[in-house]
């Protein structure tokens, strides 16, 4: 028989991997159920308009499309389940009591996963709290992820905390136009202080403080408290400090590191963002705060393959 090759980035899960994937999903559901999260199973595809209502352009390029022969409309295959949960929370589950706690798992397809990962089909699992009441929800999410990692025997990891909204606040403080803001974003994304002088010395000096504030939680907390920033940036820093203070006091701070300004690739986070990294420099979990229909939400997700390989 002629060899039947699969498209680039797609592979069958053979017995060993398939079992591991199943076990990871099963253990994840068990832990989340114990914490009173409800399971939802969103559709594999939906109309483009609803699929991308939250992401303002960042997801579109990375999603497969098909034409629905019935409606003659273009449909998108999900590349991230979080946005579907957001749609459900303000649709079918709109009248459920808040905070609404949901979990999900399922396959996603990405046109390009990342330059380093060739797989275009992955299993995503995650949880969301819709209608966040206070900063204890941030603690809860971090505790859940830590419990999941412990269950999967991943003990050596670091949790990176950042505040992506600082980029916008710097832009507002210095009245940057769209072109300058994009330039600022590129520089921040590359931790490139050299080119920031092209905008202004003042922006360069403020950015030096922000981009260099990477390190252990305690050290960066003290640093940010001791510095002064322009009004809108200071406001975001203050929100960030509240979260850092909370983590410092309620969780073991050894695992935390702070990278004050990190660019949000998903495009929908409007507050604290966190990422769990393994010793092998792999991202295990990521998540953060966002808003849907004027409701504050916090969520997290992971790709099963990253958990299997660590």
């Amino acid at each position: 028989m002629e060899n039947q090759l699969l498209p680039e980035g797609f592979k069958d899960s053979l017995p060993e991997t398939a079992y591991k994937e199943f076990e990871i999903s099963a253990e994840f559901i068990k832990i989340m159920k114990k914490r009173k999260y409800m399971l939802v199973r969103p559709t594999l595809l939906e109309f483009e308009k609803s699929m991308f209502f939250l992401t303002k352009g960042s997801m579109e390029k990375n999603s497969f499309r098909v034409l629905d022969p019935l409606s003659q409309k273009v449909m998108a295959i999900r590349s991230d389940i979080t946005t579907q949960i957001a749609r459900i929370s303000c649709g079918a589950l709109k009248f459920q009591a808040r905070p609404l706690k949901v979990m999900y798992f399922g396959d996603i397809l990405r046109v390009n996963n990342s330059q380093l990962k060739t797989a275009r089909q992955s299993t995503q699992l995650g949880g969301e709290i819709i209608g966040v009441k206070n900063e204890n929800d941030e603690i809860e999410i971090i505790e859940i992820i830590s419990e999941i990692l412990k269950k999967f025997k991943i003990n050596n990891y670091k949790i990176s905390l950042s505040m992506p909204t600082i980029l916008k606040s710097v832009s507002l403080d210095f009245n940057l136009n769209k072109e300058q803001e994009l330039y600022l974003k590129t520089c921040y994304d590359n931790k490139n202080l050299m080119d920031l002088k092209n905008i202004s010395t003042e922006i360069h000096d403020i950015s030096c403080k922000l981009l260099n504030s990477i390190g252990p939680l305690d050290k960066i907390y003290q640093f940010l408290i001791s510095e002064n920033f322009p009004s809108k940036t200071q406001c975001e820093i203050n929100k960030f400090l509240t979260s850092l203070h909370n983590f410092k006091n309620k969780l073991s701070k050894e695992n935390f590191i702070v990278d004050t300004v990190e660019i949000d690739k998903s495009g929908y986070h409007n507050g604290l963002m966190f990422k769990f990294y393994s010793e092998k420099l792999t991202e295990l979990f990521s998540g953060g705060i966002y808003e849907v229909n004027k409701e504050n939400c916090i969520g997290f997700s992971a790709l099963a393959e990253n958990l299997i390989n660590n």
């Binding site: 380093l116 670091k158 590359n190 490139n192 990477i214 690739k265 990294y277 420099l281 991202e283």
Partner: protein, 215 residues
């Protein structure tokens, strides 16, 4: 201190980098200077700091994957791969050159020809496609890994895009520079996740190079 691997490019940039490394008190073991050595990883005067010497194009890949936590790469390589996983931390101000479009002496300028598409021999396929796309021109690239200057001479194409340092190679092959796509210097780069997790250690190395640059 956790072990750090430093990826350096073979060739032109390395010649400029070695004096800078010496000033930064990062001295590779003797074997590193033995060109016939098959060794791939070298110890240095710093504890837990090792060097790998790889092709210039591979430095970015090693750093992006986190196999090396820090490295040195030219803007040409960084632009071509455009890895999201890399921070370009410090301009080392070495390895200066240009990425240029060149044509045969007797050929018309690309602009004069008013072409909607252009065929270019280059090893910088993505950079060239993006550059001409921004001018509304479709670039068809013929991927060559060396002796690119031969391509117009032997009739493969009319234009090339390649690194130009002194312009001597162009001149000797009857080519003239037409446009500069970008000016290039070598940058100190780090893996993004490593920069978070090993910030203290990597900042120490960055500081050494900052000081060495000023000396």
């Amino acid at each position: 201190m956790k072990k750090i691997i430093f990826a350096v490019p073979k060739g032109r940039i390395l010649d400029d980098l070695l004096p800078l490394m010496k000033k930064a008190e990062i001295v590779p073991e003797k074997e590193f200077f033995n060109t016939s050595s098959r060794k791939l990883i070298f110890k240095t005067s710093l504890p837990n700091f090792e060097i790998i010497r790889v092709r210039a194009f591979d430095v970015a890949t090693f750093v992006a994957f986190g196999a090396a936590q820090i490295g040195v790469a030219g803007d040409d390589v960084l632009k071509e791969f455009n890895y999201e996983e890399i921070y370009s931390i410090l301009d080392l101000d070495i390895g200066k050159c240009k990425l240029s479009l060149a044509k045969q002496k007797n050929n018309l300028d690309f602009e004069e020809k008013k072409l909607g598409n252009i065929t270019v021999a280059t090893k910088y396929k993505d950079t060239v496609i993006n550059y001409f796309a921004s001018k509304g021109v479709r670039a068809e690239c013929i991927k060559l890994n060396g002796a690119i200057e031969l391509a117009p001479k032997l009739g493969i194409c009319d234009y090339i895009v390649d690194l130009v340092s002194t312009g001597k190679t162009l001149y000797e092959n009857d080519l003239v520079e037409q446009e500069v796509l970008m000016n290039i210097t070598a940058k100190l780069i780090t893996n993004k996740i490593a920069f978070k997790l090993m910030n203290k250690e990597l900042q120490q190395i960055v500081k050494k190079f900052e000081v060495a640059k000023i000396e």
